[in-house]
Symmetry: C2
């Protein structure tokens, strides 16, 4: 990341925010749902000014400082307050709580910006020789502590890949592109779009996350149904490890033993630095047609979702099904002139009620989208609407789709607003098979609600969507909101959040869900990894770590706790 105007204490850039104008129902609704006092809404607590944060001095001696300057180019070694704070945390709730309060006890000592692979290799060799920890850093949007330095005596270098941001080549015949790992979503899409292609990977963090980060964490974009998860898009990868370069072959498939490619995907910077990848790309679609479909219940809509995914002839780009609480949130808290809120305010609402739908109680909203040639998209819609109708689904048209697309990357900005008003907000995600989906949904939501209340969060509000689906199952993604504990200590707020996280994660695993479908392990999921993959799996990961990073310098404490 090398972005001007970055909101160091929150999401994105300072010129962007989640606008609350035109959303008159927003605060009153939230006040009712979360039972927050009037004065919390009236008063916004700003983050501490950057210069007021007392940071430990960089622990570099002059010899180390000069070594780094020799290894890297000019302006590539930063030890200033802003650089170190911008690289101290990811963008999880607990990160922002600590940042806003200026609690940054373990910032990296230095942030470096290598120009190329040779500099990275030299840097890792030097770090291994000098017992220096290295944290690869893409967009820094991890929500699991994946770029957070350990509380360690070692010197800590954060290696920012911002300067490796190019699409190196496009093979239009084979529909692949070699792309450098530090390219952000907009950077790589702009370069691919110029040649008529897209990668098709649009996670919510799209604007500020990088290809290398996506690969390192097994990311999934919002259009993963149409374009695949990052592990399906990645054809080959190059990683500079402390023991040398690992490069997998540029081939669509191979039977040459266990998959090294699939080992490096999800390695979270703990084996080395991903420098580039050969990615599968797609021609830009002629048409993108996203619509909202309203269902009477979660059961009906999940059944419709499954049918859409298992239909041999349908190939949606995106399906996202909001449960009733999330549908209500869209309907009540949206902008008056857009999307569901606009529909809710018009005469349509009476019509919907007559037909048995209710946007604020039991109905569920599906966002369904197709991308491709215009006539094909139209034919897909015909089939899809028939299936939806079988389950009582009613098309609300493209208004809802347009509204969702307008705000697809905006929600993280809202989080900063909520934090300023004493509201705890975070997301958890998992995946399972269709036959276990409603069971897992119930277990997850119940655990979340119960633990919010038990930990001083008030009644709380939990809203969930089903997305990133497959013929065999889908992911569940829940957002929870509650009142922050009054204690101004960020660690008290962190402890409150931690309790909810712990209870919910325990419940997810007990109900057969996977520990994570697309956020990764990082620091926060590491305590559960053994429950997910078993003691044998842990032995495998430990062996991989000690083989590829014998000195243990790469992103310590991530994936494996020690």
């Amino acid at each position: 990341m090398d972005v001007l105007n970055l909101r160091w204490w929150g999401w994105g850039t300072l010129d962007q925010s989640y606008p609350l104008e035109g959303r008159t129902a927003f605060w009153p609704t939230l006040q009712a749902w979360l039972e927050i006092p009037e004065e919390w809404i009236a008063h916004e607590t700003p983050p501490i000014p950057l210069e007021d944060i007392s940071l430990r001095p960089p622990r570099l001696n002059p010899r180390q400082f000069s070594a780094l300057h020799k290894l890297l180019s000019e302006n590539a070694v930063r030890t200033d307050q802003r650089a170190r704070i911008e690289h101290a945390y990811g963008k999880a709730y607990r990160d922002l709580v600590r940042l806003r309060a200026g609690h940054v006890p373990y910032p990296p000592d230095v942030v470096v910006y290598p120009d190329d692979e040779a500099q990275i290799a030299s840097l890792l060799a030097w770090a291994a020789d000098n017992d220096v920890a290295v944290i690869p850093f893409g967009g820094g949007s991890s929500v699991l502590g994946g770029v957070e330095p350990p509380a360690d005596d070692r010197l800590i270098i954060t290696l920012d890949l911002a300067r490796l941001d190019r699409v190196l080549s496009v093979d239009t015949t084979s529909r692949t592109a070699r792309i450098q790992a530090g390219a952000t979503g907009p950077e790589l899409e702009a370069q691919l779009n110029a040649q008529g292609f897209t990668l098709g990977h649009f996670p919510q963090s799209f604007e500020f996350s990088t290809l290398g980060g996506w690969i390192a964490t097994r990311s999934a974009g919002q259009n993963s149904i149409g374009y695949g998860k990052i592990e399906h898009m990645t054809q080959a990868v190059r990683v500079i490890t402390p023991i040398g370069i690992l490069e997998t072959k540029d081939t669509p498939a191979t039977a040459a033993g266990p998959s090294l490619l699939q080992l490096l995907l999800g390695s979270e910077g703990t084996y080395g630095v991903i420098t580039e990848a050969t990615m599968r790309i797609h021609p830009l679609p002629q048409a993108q047609d996203y619509r909202g479909i309203l269902f009477h219940s979660l059961e009906d809509s999940v059944a419709a979702f499954r049918d859409l995914m298992q239909h041999r002839q349908l190939h949606p780009a995106i399906i996202r099904l909001s449960d009733a609480p999330e549908t209500a949130a869209y309907a009540v808290m949206g902008h008056e002139h857009h999307g569901l809120r606009r529909l809710a305010d018009t005469l349509l609402e009476r019509y919907l009620k007559m037909r048995g739908y209710d946007l604020t109680t039991g109905s569920t909203l599906m966002l369904l989208g197709f991308e491709g040639d215009t006539p094909w998209v139209a034919r897909q819609w015909n089939v899809a609407l028939e299936i939806c109708a079988d389950y009582g689904g009613l098309s609300l048209g493209q208004t809802v789709g347009r509204s969702w697309r307008r705000e697809r990357y905006a929600q993280p900005y809202l989080r900063d607003t909520l934090l300023g008003h004493g509201i705890m907000v975070d997301t958890l995600e998992t995946a399972t098979t269709w036959s276990n989906l409603l069971n897992l949904y119930t277990a997850m939501v119940q655990a979340m609600k119960k633990s919010i209340t038990e930990n001083g969060g008030g009644p709380g509000y939990v809203m969930t969507h089903v997305s990133h689906a497959y013929a065999q199952g889908a992911s569940l993604y829940s957002t929870f909101l509650g009142r922050q504990v009054a204690d101004p200590d960020p660690l008290a707020k962190q402890a409150q959040w931690q309790a909810v996280k712990r209870a919910t994660t325990d419940a997810i695993l007990a109900a057969g869900g996977t520990l994570t479908h697309h956020h990764g392990i990082g620091r926060d999921h590491a305590p559960w990894l053994e429950e997910e993959i078993g003691p044998g799996g842990m032995q495998v990961l430990r062996a991989l770590k000690s083989t590829l990073d014998p000195a243990g310098i790469m992103n310590p404490g991530i994936l494996l706790q020690s």
Copy 2:
């Protein structure tokens, strides 16, 4: 494998063979192509009788024998000549050459048939304690020495999974099935078909290979374009290793670190015994419509193939493109009343010649198939035929498709006939991107032809098809034929074959192809593995091996040479 009437010295069962009746042009054509003497055709050399093979006695002492009997059920411990010979080799050319001559210096000492996972776990524990090597055995159809015992002082047990042949459960909601690893293709398809489903995995070895073998070697079925390669079909796997059970989670996807599932896929029995897997299944298709399309040249037909694969709306079940030599072989050597041969013999041939096609010189034949609902299949054909026509493709209709399907599993039987007449025949396969495909094709075919001639094989005949394709590239699969060296010593014949294999594999890797797309590594590809995956990749595989199989008892010499 626990099949009655097995052809221990060749392919399949004794009641089946590749019939040469009705193929009057077969021998004359082959004689002309390979320049083989008339007497080779007249005279067939039979394999040595089973009982004439002198086998070293089983190296089990009474204590070991009684230990095995305690660990396993009745009739589950075999040391008879037939069992040991049937498990001594896979089904590669070099295996059959040695078997036919009765050259079996290193048979397993004992073949065991465990009933369940508990027996397998006990057996591995006992083997690790007693330094006994264990070779997991599914169908034994490896063509790379994957089930061949090492020339080792240790006692060698071949662990045949024949008794683990059940579909344990079918989750019709999630479209998955838990299947035991020892189930052969027909066994598992019969059980799935009974519930209206298919796995969709049909390798040429289908009748005699097993799920566990497919997973262990990253197999691809003939319909891999429609249903995926085995690594795309496998949702979860269970492996009993010497250090315990590794089981991956039954989830359609996860971000919980590096993929253990994709490590176990392709592990070739060297980490443990695959006992069951959760597989993605599909409803049986209503229609299967396979047709032949004739093109003027390889270049045209590869371009059409690529367009078919990259078309957003087309979803073929199978595409297989034969180059001119393979097309000629089908046309000349086929059955008079079937397929291309029948067409060639009718007036159609004059029509084709008028249109510029020639079945015996430059034209190439594509087999293209769609599976699904009847009207959808018809619409797919409309689109596909338009694309083919753009490249000069002419539909020959369903005759060719039917003929191919009739003989889809028959060709390995022909190999036994050829071997009886002094003909060397084997296959090699690789994969690459579309942009490199013709380059790799040329390099591979030239290396093969040159090395056949240089190694006393005469002019040789090489025929190739492009199949198992992706939007990004495809596999190449070549069959080569030549005259065997006259030396009756099977090791001389093996050396001749080895020289061709070596030269071709070197050429494949030099031209950017992968070492193997779906046969695996086994013993024969192991010398090239480092060239494929690099020294770092080798270190990773060695670490995995020593972690999961610290005593080194599992399938020694496979994947890693030592």
